[in-house]
């Protein structure tokens, strides 16, 4: 497809990404001047150790996590909206987050009930592994079901059913759980970009990069899906094969992100709409990169707000994304009056 010229908007977006990345590192509960941050990065010994540790082991991994989570969730949301031709679809529509929640619930709440134990050491990997397993099991079920089903819309309903099913089991587990375990589980549900070790950030980045590269290959089938499945098929597209690939890539993005940072609401649903409104386009050659960059920027901003600069308190990121995001989307829609996929 021929694309309109978008060079300047993309340049502005990229500059914005760099700006907010630096701002995200600069602002936090401890006020660290910019030159001290830069010195920490180049490992200049004149910076005090506490600052260097905060910057290198806390703020930079957190900012990278925010970029990856924001971009990945936004791309996933875009894919689901196009595949299901539904502007309300999001990355969690397949029940991935419910699967991840169930995995974590079984780990945290189940351990209490069934008498298992978890040392603090094991938690670094136990949580993401449990969440990934949960997400993966849901993905597997959805894929098995989708191979039996011709109608794409039915997959949407199957995803919803898996979500309800998982939510029900979580309710039962919660009912029998002790207060402190329940609190731990609820905290996971708030989402958190912080506390990822460099090893975790590395794995997150690796999976993100692979999924991102594969996403580029999906641009062509996604564009033909803009005409609807039957037209796409008449253009020679292998509809079921491409559908499976889109589902797998989306699950890879959302599964690994949810595993490490918890279920983060709003980004995946709203960012693709913001990208469509900003660029006034439906072409995935434009929407894929713009959703990714916008997602990263928006999650960086939400994280800055959640940190309440120069304050000890940190608000749950999940609350911030919704509190600030929902009004923005409502305002954009009222202003533009039309909603597209």
């Amino acid at each position: 497809m021929k694309t309109q010229r978008f060079g300047i908007p993309f340049l502005i977006l990229s500059l914005g990404l760099v700006l907010f990345f630096l701002l995200n590192i600069r602002l936090g509960s401890v006020d660290i001047p910019l030159n001290a941050i830069l010195k920490s990065i180049i490992n200049d010994p004149s910076v005090q150790d506490s600052w260097r540790i905060i910057v290198m082991d806390f703020r930079i991994p957190k900012a990278i996590t925010a970029c990856i989570a924001g971009a990945g969730l936004a791309i996933s949301g875009l894919f689901m909206q196009t595949l299901f031709r539904n502007p309300l679809a999001g990355p969690f529509i397949l029940g991935i987050s419910s699967g991840a929640s169930l995995g974590v619930a079984l780990l945290i709440l189940g351990a209490g009930i069934f008498g298992g134990f978890l040392s603090a050491m094991a938690m670094e990997w136990a949580l993401p592994i449990a969440a990934s397993l949960g997400a993966f099991l849901v993905l597997l079920s959805v894929l098995l079901a989708s191979n039996k089903i011709k109608n794409t819309m039915s997959i949407l309903i199957i995803g919803l059913m898996f979500s309800s099913f998982a939510a029900a089991i979580i309710s039962v587990l919660s009912y029998f759980s002790e207060a402190d375990k329940l609190q731990q589980f609820i905290f996971w549900g708030f989402g958190s970009l912080a506390n990822l070790s460099w090893n975790q950030v590395l794995i997150l980045s690796l999976v993100f990069f692979v999924a991102l590269m594969y996403s580029i290959r999906l641009i062509k089938p996604l564009n033909s899906l803009l005409l609807g499945e039957n037209y796409a098929k008449s253009l020679g597209m292998n509809t079921q094969g491409n559908r499976t690939q889109i589902l797998v890539i989306t699950s890879l993005f959302t599964g690994v992100i949810t595993a490490f940072v918890g279920p983060i609401a709003f980004i995946g649903l709203a960012v693709p709409h913001i990208a469509r409104l900003v660029f006034n386009s439906s072409n995935h050659k434009v929407l894929l990169p713009s959703s990714a960059i916008l997602g990263a920027i928006i999650l960086l901003i939400c994280d800055i707000v959640a940190q309440l600069p120069n304050n000890e308190i940190t608000l749950p990121i999940n609350a911030i994304t919704s509190i600030f995001g929902a009004p923005v989307v409502i305002w954009l829609l009222i202003k533009k009056k039309k909603i597209f996929i």
Partner: protein, 260 residues
């Protein structure tokens, strides 16, 4: 010189597959469609026009008999191969999106573009020509949702044209259109047949216009399916079978349907 046979079927039964026994909508379809034919399929609602077209585009498998496409079994075509032989205009509306007219028409080039869908010089040429032929070039930068139904239909035809296939299949291409735009679409299709040698198959409820513009007609009813030129069909008294006797009748002298 004998014209090339494009599509032929012998004693074809069509319908929907179910688990135990398939639902047969209609059977005994014998057609042979040649290069440059403009075929209109007539019949009342639910008689199997769309089913027949879906069978031609392999969305449905024939229940009995088979279809030959350019002297090869239709089943032997992969969906990729078929995309360079048959292009379609469907009755379903396209999802609400922000594609421009040009972008949408360029999607017709997908069977020929590379993995990242870059348009070659030739692709751009074909897209431009498709826009010229359908008179959609003037609003190529408009968004799809800004167009009237008549314009939208021309754009969808342009998209099929950009796909550059010898056969075009259009399911009720003039539904929702007023008489003026309906005639415009029929004229456009006739032009494509005459100037570019396309083989076009449409289903339509525009009986009189179909008789006037199409080179051959297929008249479908519950018991038999007639296929031939208007003169042949009049001789076979096919048009009289189209509707129950009260209300509408066919006047063979003016070759038109009239209201009693």
């Amino acid at each position: 010189m004998a014209k090339k046979n494009i599509i032929s079927s012998k004693n074809l039964s069509i319908g929907y597959p179910t688990k135990n026994n398939p639902v047969v909508i209609t059977s005994g379809i014998d057609v042979s469609i040649f290069e440059g034919d403009f075929i209109a399929i007539l019949g009342k609602n639910g008689i199997g026009k769309s089913t027949f077209l879906k069978t031609l585009t392999t969305e449905l498998a024939p229940i009995e008999g088979n279809i030959q496409l350019m002297e090869a079994d239709l089943n032997s075509y992969s969906s990729k191969q078929l995309a360079s032989v048959i292009s379609v205009v469907l009755t379903e509306s396209i999802p609400m999106n922000q594609l421009t007219v040009q972008e949408l028409i360029a999607l017709g080039r997908q069977p020929y573009t590379n993995w990242i869908d870059n348009l070659s010089e030739r692709d751009t040429e074909v897209v431009n020509k498709a826009m010229m032929d359908t008179e959609t070039f003037d609003f190529k930068d408009k968004k799809i949702y800004e167009l009237s139904d008549g314009m939208k239909q021309r754009v969808l035809i342009a998209r099929a044209l950009a796909q550059d296939t010898p056969v075009m299949i259009l399911d009720e291409p003039t539904v929702h259109l007023d008489l003026y735009h309906t005639v415009q679409i029929f004229k456009l299709l006739k032009k494509l047949v005459e100037e570019q040698g396309k083989t076009i198959i449409i289903s339509s409820h525009e009986l009189n216009l179909s008789i006037k513009f199409a080179s051959k007609l297929m008249v479908m009813n519950e018991t038999t399916n007639h296929f031939g030129t208007t003169v042949e069909l009049i001789a076979a008294k096919a048009f009289e079978t189209l509707f129950p006797a009260d209300g509408i009748s066919f006047d063979s002298e003016s070759q038109q349907f009239v209201i009693k």
